[in-house]
């Protein structure tokens, strides 16, 4: 008998992540670098293989070049397989015309043929927007145990943030009694994580009906889930209680990186039983020079550090020259911070150059008006000239001349 997967994963990776501004100018949100050597998509992909799910469709649409290149044949995640493996699914031309993915549900609808090829019992729907470690196999067990048609991963969020999420009101047996997508006045703080397990037969039926419905926005949260609820399908919530962060904004991306430096935050990446895999840079170990002072930081291979680094995350091949100060910042691969430059409360994207004496970002304490404070961002390949100043909250995606 051929190896038939019980469950396959469909990973929605087409999002632009527009609130990340210049960081997603040329890459999709799931490809945004995180944590020194990862990209966001490493988390759902690694979760899949660690959960024993070896067939993953990755749905791409917005700026897919970097993402496609990064995923490649899936080898870093052991997803280069004869049976299953990782597959990039882009919108394609059909006899009836060409369609972009209109919504999350439509994206899956357009790939029904892909799923049917594996004919799984269950389909796991994921997004490529979150940092979390989760054992999907336990959720799948729960789905089977409850004989559910749809199981939604759920997390309790602070009440003040609840209105940003799809919320659920539950019955005593864990089944969902009501579902509200981003309500103004939340009645629950049990939020959907955008992780769903469906019994494939059921999902297939609803996707086809949803597509036929001209009034539908073809979205899971807005359309498919409410339709299933209305028809009385068996829908359950699966409680998750680990670290989970949507890195959809500059501040949350910055926070989520600095969370790695906080021993009180429950996100241990250095876990042999749940490794997060990534396409590793080809670089020698990092070098800390005789004048370097490095504390409370994460440093990746290929870095060369001669300056001061505190509460920061440095990606591969970053160079910090003598007397440069880097504090509370995220510095992405290949960036150079030259002598005497100061980078604080900032995100500096890949291959940027911060010239001598330049200043990027400011601490919130030094602001006269705290509302003006925000993380400063320097875009890919941008040069900040000698002694130039990048204000807090600024986003710089063009070279900035020097100042005297």
């Amino acid at each position: 008998m051929a190896r038939k997967p019980e469950c396959i994963a469909m990973l929605l990776a087409g999002g632009q992540g527009s609130r990340l501004g210049i960081l997603t100018k040329n890459i999709a949100k799931p490809a945004v670098p995180y944590g020194g050597k990862y990209r966001i998509i490493d988390f759902p992909l690694s979760n899949c293989v660690n959960s024993g799910i070896y067939t993953v469709g990755v749905l791409t649409q917005y700026q897919p070049l970097v993402l496609n290149d990064y995923i490649g044949n899936g080898q870093p995640w052991d997803l280069d397989r004869s049976a299953g493996g990782v597959h990039i699914l882009s919108p394609y031309q059909q006899i009836k015309g060409t369609e972009w993915y209109k919504g999350t549900a439509n994206a899956i609808y357009q790939n029904i043929n892909f799923i049917e090829r594996y004919n799984p019992e269950y389909v796991l729907i994921l997004s490529g927007d979150h940092i979390y470690k989760m054992d999907y196999s336990k959720m799948l067990d729960y789905h089977k145990e409850k004989n559910a048609d749809c199981t939604i991963a759920m997390l309790e969020v602070p009440w003040e943030e609840a209105s940003r999420f799809g919320l659920m009101i539950l019955n005593d047996d864990g089944s969902i009694s009501e579902f509200e997508e981003k309500p103004k006045n939340p009645r629950s703080n049990k939020a959907s994580m955008g992780v769903y397990v469906f019994t494939w037969e059921k999902l297939r039926k609803y996707l086809i009906e949803d597509e036929a419905n001209k009034n539908s926005g073809n979205d899971f949260g807005h359309d498919v889930i409410p339709a299933m609820k209305e028809n009385g399908e068996r829908m359950f919530a699966y409680q998750f209680d680990g670290y989970w962060k949507d890195v959809g904004t500059i501040n949350s991306l910055w926070d989520a990186n600095l969370d790695l430096l906080n021993p009180k935050v429950d996100l241990e990446l250095d876990d042999d039983n749940w490794k997060i895999y990534s396409r590793s840079p080809i670089a020698p170990p990092h070098f800390a020079g005789k004048d370097s002072v490095i504390e409370n930081s994460m440093i990746t291979e290929g870095c060369e550090i001669h300056g001061n680094v505190d509460f920061s995350v440095l990606f591969a091949n970053v160079r910090i020259e003598e007397g440069a100060n880097v504090k509370y910042s995220i510095v992405m691969p290949g960036t150079i911070i030259k002598k005497g430059a100061t980078v604080q409360y900032s995100i500096v994207a890949e291959n940027a150059v911060i010239e001598e004496g330049a200043t990027v970002g400011m601490s919130p304490e030094s602001m006269s008006n705290i509302d003006d404070w925000g993380v400063a961002v320097v875009g890919n390949g941008v040069t900040i000239g000698n002694n130039a100043v990048v204000a807090p909250k600024a986003m710089v995606d063009e070279d900035m001349g020097g100042a005297e």
């Binding site: 870093p76 250095d270 997060i276 020698p284 170990p285 990092h286 800390a288 370097s292 409370n296 994460m298």
Partner: protein, 370 residues
């Protein structure tokens, strides 16, 4: 000119006996080096960077760690249907009765060599830390219309290993090869990297088999007069690992920017098996100076003039100086370590003090708890 027409052959066990501590459980090729590499990564990556697409790796003994490291060769893009990487374990050859050496390894695999149908064969060991441009060596060989090209470096040979030196005429031709018996001046010392025509190698191997010649040096020396044998000079950093002390010295040489930049230049990357470790974490009060640190380390203490391999922990108050600390070693709180080489998975308990000398480092074997 990419060296597509060259078969690469690597002797993973050559000179194992010169560093018995480090090779007790492994081959010379799988000796850890430079924080995240094994010695074989250097010749293997060099071959791939030169455009070589077929590589055979000779193994005689203790090759478990080597197999684990090179796997199917995918890291070097050598996992191929045609050509690619092949491990060549010992092939017992009852008729030949030759001793366990390079010539017998080659003769035992003569079928593999001739099936490659390459014009050239490149032979190398794993114990030389350098960056030899094999592509340039091939170009040199073609220019000189050489039968054999042997690489050498101008250096003072070590009395610890049996070295060969060359006398070379103004055209670059080797006129004399000698076993070294003086150790006070620079000589044209062989680095045991040889490029020769495949058909010639096959002929020499048959000759060796019939005449019971067991070492390469003798084989080439005998044929010096009737072959066009040239010397290819290796410039830049060259260091032979022929004792634990020279291993220690070569490791600490990596802290010099010129050595590091030479070995790890962007245009000829050194590939190695990935460890999928997180970036290294520095804690409050961590002090790290003049050190090379691989991924997955956790540092809460002081580190100076050291090489830290993947996954090393230095607890708070610990002081580590002039030391080579291999993978997953744990150094306990307030421990003091100086001039020490710890192999993998060593544990140094809290408040222990270990001190070697710069010309005689202490070596602590794999998995030992102190």
């Amino acid at each position: 000119m990419a060296a597509k027409n060259v078969l690469g052959l690597i002797f993973s066990n050559a000179y194992d006996e010169s560093v018995p501590e480090l090779t007790a459980m492994r081959t010379m090729g799988s000796v850890p080096f430079a924080g995240r590499y094994r010695l074989i990564d250097f010749p293997l990556s060099g071959m791939v960077n030169a455009g070589i697409t077929q590589v055979g790796v000779f193994t005689n003994s203790n090759y478990h760690s080597l197999m684990d490291h090179i796997g199917n060769g995918s890291v070097w893009d050598l996992d191929r249907k045609r050509e690619g990487l092949t491990l060549l374990p010992p092939f017992s050859n009852r008729e030949s009765g030759m001793s366990d050496g390079k010539v017998s390894s080659l003769y035992g695999n003569i079928g593999y060599i001739s099936d490659s149908a390459k014009d050239y064969v490149l032979l190398t060991d794993c114990n030389i830390i350098s960056k030899i441009d094999y592509e340039d060596m091939l170009k040199f060989s073609i220019e000189k219309n050489a039968d054999v090209v042997e690489a050498y470096a101008e250096m003072i040979p070590s009395h610890l290993s049996k070295s060969t030196s060359f006398i070379i005429d103004e055209n670059g031709r080797i006129t004399e090869t000698n076993f070294v018996d003086s150790y006070d001046k620079k000589l044209n010392t062989s680095v045991n990297v040889i490029l020769l025509r495949r058909t010639l190698l096959e002929r020499l191997l048959h000759e060796a088999n019939s005449k019971r010649i067991s070492d390469m040096e003798t084989l080439f020396a005998k044929n010096l007069a009737n072959l066009r044998v040239f010397g290819y000079k290796v410039e830049g950093y060259v260091k032979a690992i022929e004792s634990v002390i020279s291993y220690y010295e070569a490791s600490l040489d990596l802290l010099k920017p010129e050595v590091r930049n030479y070995l790890f230049s962007d245009d000829s990357p050194i590939y190695t098996k990935t460890g999928d470790r997180t970036p290294s974490k520095y804690g409050i009060n961590a002090k790290v100076k003049e050190s090379l640190v691989a991924d997955g380390c956790r540092i809460y203490g002081e580190v100076e003039n050291c090489i830290l391999f993947r996954g090393v922990t230095v607890a708070k108050g610990a002081k580590v100086k002039n030391s080579i600390i291999m993978q997953d070693t744990e150094i306990g709180e307030n421990a003091k370590i100086e001039c020490v080489i710890t192999d993998k998975d060593v544990k140094i308990s809290s408040r222990k003090t270990l001190c070697g000398a710069e010309n005689y480092p202490i070596y602590i074997g794999k998995g030992i708890v102190i």
